[in-house]
Amino acid sequence: MSEATVATATLERLIHDLPDTTRAGMRVPARVFADDVLWEDVRQEHALEQLCNVATLPGVVSRVCGMPDIHEGYGFPVGGVAATRVGDGVISPGGVGYDINCGVRLLTTGLTIDAISGKVPELVHALSRSIPTGGYGNTQLRLERRAMEQVLKEGSRSLVAMGLATPEDLAHTESGGALPGADPAAVSERAQERGRDQLGTMGSGNHFVEIERVEAVTDPAAARAFGLVVGGVAVLIHTGSRGLGHQVCTDYVHLMLGRLESWGIELPDRQLACAPLSKPEARRYLAAMNAAANFAFANRQAITAAVRDVFRTVLGPAVSIQVCYDVAHNMAKLERHGGQELCVHRKGATRAFGPSHPETPAAYRDVGQPVFIPGSMGTASWVLAGTDAALDLSFGTACHGAGRARSRGAARAAHTGRDVREALVRQGISVAGASARGLAEEAPDAYKDVERVVEVVHQAGLARKVARLRPIGVVKG
């Protein structure tokens, strides 16, 4: 579907507008992209109230947006997008979240499904042994002070000298895997302590490393550019900045809450704590957030190195694994939109720039940047391509996943971890790494229908469908 063919009628059917009178204090309206089924779901919970709260932030422009996977979060909803003017707007750490630069990276392997036939359980087992999961760290890769500072300043670039990254990897990472303006001095000692042994680790919750089979291609030209062919094998990585990023958010929410009154800012939710972008506190948070984001890029890069080692050990040294792309979905970035410099908050939302955007990597200038929408453990994930139209629709943003449909407690009440594991095995999916509780909480039906979510993204023109991936091996955090 070309961008020009996004019919007005279709778009209108998928847009749900909430006027700026929906609640007191809204400075702009809110817009949710959803079909009728997703819209009915989202109306049942608190995500819309949270989105309207975001619309009260000082300096917010145009409209706040909810992606098709929008669901209840804290402060911002997950799947929420808000842009504030740099001149008189604010930056909100809550609009980024605790897992700063949580994101997704796709690796292509050059292998076909036949080439790894019978080897998937061994690969999954080896990956689970090489990539620490859960709450703690990586005893094999401990960062002393100087190394930590380098990672915070240079992100993935800092791993090139260690042999854990290549220049090609950096070219295929959002912002080159290293955000400028990162300042280790803005990252507290506590945050650095928490991250010291967490490089190359997955964490838990919905984080994962999955081996995927490319099941279908819907846009051959873009798939070719992304290195995806039907029957090919890919690896999807989902994790973020771990305890370091969590502590950065904790520190700056605390700091900003203490200053709100002096800045004359009143908020409907304390988690929306924010600082005027003109204030030193905001600049310091940006420097710390960028440093934490660099840590996250480096984290996914270190996991990439572990994946390469595992595949070469199991399948032979000729295996060549390439980074297709790496995108953040918890970030605030300074970007130009409509001639204005804006701070675009994407909370559980993915940047989706089209072919003509200067930040789209050179290799993807003909098709748009890759966008990843993972489903759940047992369902498909999608690769899409960013569109130029999304700049007007959503500040160049698409959604970041299927979105949770039911709480973790409800998922545990409906399933045991054993049931979920057995169901995945019956589908031919090898599983490792997760606790029984974690598996139950991440059961496929705890999430919205990824096909429906992706169809809305595609039909609305936020991004364009390229290829569907089907999991064959899952290492769960």
Binding site: Y74, S407, S435, G477
Partner: protein, 158 residues
């Protein structure tokens, strides 16, 4: 709908030494938040509520019985109000857990007021913890007095 965690209703008298008066009504529940984990905490005193928050956190970090060398951490915090104190308390425990690979399980409160807590917290140091809790958030935060007892709600990012 509120989901009471099966087997998770705990009485402080059986969980660590309390220097303050025992609160048999103290317990925690998991609330119905879609994206994250909401804790609903009940107790007759501020200390009892903070203790339940700590127990819930330990359960989330390591659901199975945790075994490892014991470590004691001294926690002393001040905050502008008791709800802020709850967030600071949980985030302090999370920081210590991350830093030392430690699970808080037993709580000995020396002092707990509207603005201050001083406690010794004991628990095992583990080689690994299966689950990560990122932070206590300020969203939907409540710490009220209801029918003569304290009731608190806090959303954890997990």
């Amino acid at each position: 709908m509120t989901l009471i965690a099966p087997g998770r209703v705990r009485h402080p008298a059986t969980w660590g030494r309390m220097t303050m008066s025992p609160c048999p009504q103290a317990y925690f529940e998991f609330g119905p938040h879609v994206g994250e984990v909401q804790l609903q905490l009940h107790g007759m005193t501020i200390a009892a509520v903070l203790e339940q928050a700590g127990i819930a956190l330990g359960e989330l970090l390591a659901p199975a019985a945790a075994a490892g060398p014991e470590k004691v951490e001294e926690v002393s915090l001040t905050a502008p109000d008791r709800s802020a104190l709850l967030v600071e308390w949980i985030n302090e425990l999370l920081y210590l857990a991350d830093r030392d690979h430690w699970i808080p399980t037993h709580f000995d409160f020396h002092d707990a007021t509207e603005h201050h807590v001083n406690a010794s917290v004991r628990g095992p140091v583990l080689a690994e913890a299966p689950t990560e809790v990122k932070a206590a958030t300020w969203h939907g935060l409540r710490f009220d007095v209801r029918d003569g007892a304290f009731v608190a709600e806090v959303v954890l990012d997990v």
